[in-house]
């Protein structure tokens, strides 16, 4: 099917084509279906195990814990449910740092391209007196292994390296980083919010000690996530907050049974479908890139072309304002980068970290493909973007590029 036919086939009032899967994913209908009974008739408090309703909820939570664990090669009791990846990242980094401070450790290593909540957590610790090493990444988005090795010192409490970047999608070599950290005897945390369920992640093979998971990035609902906490050798962390002592005292608060169930189902589906889906999405991604390059040869891809999330592209349109381009394409749901910062005009710290000039950073869109993306949507998006760029190029001819 050609792009123009694909375009004609879209009805005038159709909802925009969703191309923002790194921001959030729709809840899979299969996930929703299994969750619903735990909102309504099976509503017991999973910690109120003195009665049948509570025990039924507890059993569902434990089943979900097992499903999440299985997806990343962990044991069920190594999974701590949280309200999301932001909480998991805060708990891992602040928790590990604060626990190990008593053992004389006061140093943290992370990357310049991390998610904002990792950088913010690290900076919060710096205000508490920790020393912070923020390592650079190269123009493709990768950290240099030798730089990590050089940064680790006797007093390093934790190294935090994201598995997959949320803007440019690049996949760090977690297996190599894991064996390095294990050899050095330093805790390794990875923010795997974008990676889990999309690409294989195995905490054993990769020697990962702490790993953050986000529900709504993998077709489960918002408001649920998890932190993997290694038992052997034990990764010791302090809780962010205390209370009823749930989740092995690491995370107090009544667990939301339906949300835990949702994350479990999403993990089960991902485990079963990830290989085929990754291949399908990588095909769509290559089609998207080739198609847009054919129409707009000046478009530049940010991040390594292949070692990246199957469904992610990050494209710069030289001379075009990304915000104007988005406004010119109301039939596409796009973003300039991280949703947290999408409304601010500040250039992306990730694009700055890979050395993209500021003018190009402002001309950059993130394109996220996912479970409901189709070839005709990709073709429609290529056509829509190309037509808009061509129009903008005409109207902005003679003016300085933004």
């Amino acid at each position: 099917m050609t792009a123009s036919i694909a375009r004609q086939m879209r009805r005038a009032n159709a909802p925009p084509v969703y191309l923002d899967y790194q921001s959030t994913t729709p809840t899979d209908p299969r996930v929703l279906e299994e969750m619903l009974p735990y909102f309504t008739e099976k509503f017991g408090n999973p910690h109120a195990t003195t009665h049948a309703y509570g025990r039924e909820a507890e059993a569902a939570v434990e089943r979900a814990r097992g499903e999440v664990a299985a997806l990343i090669g962990a044991e069920p009791r190594e999974i701590i449910f949280t309200s999301g990846a932001t909480e998991a990242n805060n708990l891992a980094i602040k928790g590990a740092a604060r626990f190990h401070r008593a053992l004389g450790k006061d140093h943290i290593v992370t990357l310049a391209s991390e998610h904002k909540c990792v950088l913010e957590s690290s900076q919060a610790l710096a205000r508490e007196g920790f020393r912070l090493t923020v390592l650079p990444v190269d123009t493709q988005g990768f950290v240099d292994l030798a730089a990590i090795e050089a940064a680790i010192e006797e007093r390093t409490a934790i190294v935090s390296v994201m598995a997959a970047n949320n803007e440019i999608g690049v996949l760090q070599d977690m297996a190599a980083i894991g064996s390095l950290c294990r050899a050095k005897g330093v805790l390794l945390h990875t923010d795997a919010a974008q990676a889990v369920g999309k690409v294989p992640v195995d905490v054993e093979a990769m020697n990962i000690d702490l790993l953050s998971i986000s529900g709504h990035k993998m077709y489960a609902p918002k408001g649920i996530g998890a932190l993997y906490v290694r038992r052997r050798p034990r990764a010791r962390i302090a809780p962010l907050f205390d209370g009823g002592g749930q989740e092995r005292t690491l995370r107090s608060g009544t667990l939301s049974t339906p949300l835990c169930v949702g994350l479990g189902v999403a993990a089960r589906i991902a485990a079963a479908e990830m290989t085929a889906e990754a291949e399908r999405l990588a095909g769509l991604r290559r089609r998207f890139l080739a198609g847009i390059k054919a129409r707009l040869p000046e478009v530049r891809l940010n991040g390594d072309p292949e070692r990246r999330l199957p469904g992610n592209l990050n494209l710069s349109f030289p001379g075009i304002s990304a915000l104007n381009l988005m406004a010119a394409c109301p039939s596409l749901a796009l973003s300039t980068g991280s949703a947290c910062t999408a409304t601010s005009v500040e250039p992306s710290h990730v694009l700055r970290a890979i050395g993209l000039p500021e003018a190009l950073a402002g001309a950059t869109l993130r394109i996220g493909l996912g479970r409901q993306s189709t070839q005709s949507e990709v073709d429609f998006a290529i056509e829509t973007l190309a037509a808009a760029v061509e129009r903008q190029s005409v109207t902005s001819a003679g003016t300085a590029p933004i």
Binding site: G54, S83, E87, A124, G223, F241, D242, G244, G245, Q246
Partner: protein
């Protein structure tokens, strides 16, 4: 199916059908409230509408509502988010308040379960720096309603701030943050017909709050993380219904009082705690002397009656209640106390089932003791 009676509403309440519908509708859509495209903007509108609904539950401005993952997180944010302060908490607070600040001073309660305001005044007078006082609006075990407005006057006269854990009271009692005088107030959705996994801290203008969970700057920098939109929208729906149906609790209170009268008719030596103080309309904490709470809870469970021995916590173990300890109840009696809590769908049949099962256990234990 054999009959059953759910009488553990203070642990969690079933979801209101309207709140369930709101969840399903929101889950079927997709959008991150921080995204600028259409689905993101729709998500943002739904979020702000829910914020206004939750604010209306407590008579506060919408901007003062900070959504959290639940009551526990909200309590911790309140107690730890105001920087270095001398913290004072009542002896009957929920664990998430009692354990938030290890150095906190403890405000005693009197034998009727009400916080000792004279003791609070003394503690405040001894304080040599800015203080933060935390007193719950209604206790989760005894149901006793605390004199929060009077406490707020004492607290504010001495330049301190007041946090109020209103998790159990919200949706059961009329609530107005201004007349209550609370500077910070904690809410939990799943106690009032919303879903679990969502709560809020309502932050008054006088409380300069710093985040515990940092990151993308959501909730105006006070709580980072992509918002749990289905949970928030359902919380808003449940809050609106709760306000509209406050009048229904009078009937629940009558049912609770019938239950109390029938249980004490069976066992005249049974003790009801907090009965001399104003209480939540739905809560009944009662001890069957000589029969451990765990035995009662198990016997009732076998008969299909779901109650608890106190707060639902990590272990699921039956522990002696710190609330009854604080009221000066002897350990032997406190270990025999169970919590019965009713809700909007509780029926006379539920109470019959409770009374029959409890009565049968009482008869058995008295026969074997004879």
């Amino acid at each position: 199916m054999s009959p059953s009676a759910y009488l553990d509403w203070n642990a969690t309440a079933p979801l209101h059908p309207e709140a369930a519908a709101a969840i399903v509708e929101t889950l079927r859509r997709c959008g991150n409230p921080s995204s600028v495209h259409r689905s993101g903007r729709e998500a943002r509108r739904a979020l702000e509408r829910a914020r206004a609904q939750v604010a209306a539950l407590v008579g506060a401005p919408a901007a003062s509502v900070v959504f959290t993952s639940g009551g526990t997180e909200a309590n911790q944010l309140a107690l730890r988010g105001l920087g270095e302060r001398l913290v004072m908490v009542s002896a009957i607070e929920h664990d998430s308040v009692r354990q938030a600040v290890p150095s906190a001073r403890v405000i005693p309660v009197m034998s009727d379960g009400v916080v000792d305001l004279a003791a609070l005044a003394r503690l405040l007078d001894e304080a040599d720096g800015p203080a933060l006082v935390s007193i719950m609006l209604a206790n989760n075990e005894s149901g006793v309603i605390q004199p929060v407005a009077e406490a707020a006057r004492l607290v504010h006269e001495r330049g301190a701030l007041l946090h109020c854990d209103a998790v159990q009271a919200a949706g059961k009692l009329p609530l107005d943050m201004t007349s209550l005088g609370a500077d910070l107030l904690t809410l939990s959705a799943h106690k009032l017909g919303g879903p679990p996994g969502i709560g809020a801290l309502v932050v008054g203008a006088e409380a300069p709050l710093a985040a515990i969970q940092t990151g993308g700057g959501q909730e105006r920098g006070r709580r980072a993380g992509t918002e749990n939109l289905p949970g928030i929208v359902a919380f808003g729906a449940a809050a609106e219904i709760a306000v509209a149906r406050l009048g229904d609790w009078a009937a629940v209170a009558r049912l609770r009082d019938v239950a109390a009268a029938r249980l004490t008719a069976i066992a005249p030596e049974a003790t009801i705690y907090g009965v001399d103080a104003p209480r939540l309309p739905n809560t009944l904490q009662i001890a069957m002397p000589g029969v451990p709470a765990a035995t009662q809870v198990m016997a009732l469970d076998l008969a299909g009656v779901m109650v608890s021995a106190g707060a639902a916590c990590s272990s699921g173990k039956v522990r002696r209640s710190h609330v009854l300890d604080a009221m000066g109840v002897p350990a032997a009696a406190a270990e025999c106390a169970i919590r019965i809590s009713l809700g909007w769908s509780t029926t006379e049949d539920d109470i019959d089932l409770l009374v029959d099962a409890w009565g049968a256990l009482y008869a058995r234990t008295r026969a074997s003791a004879a």
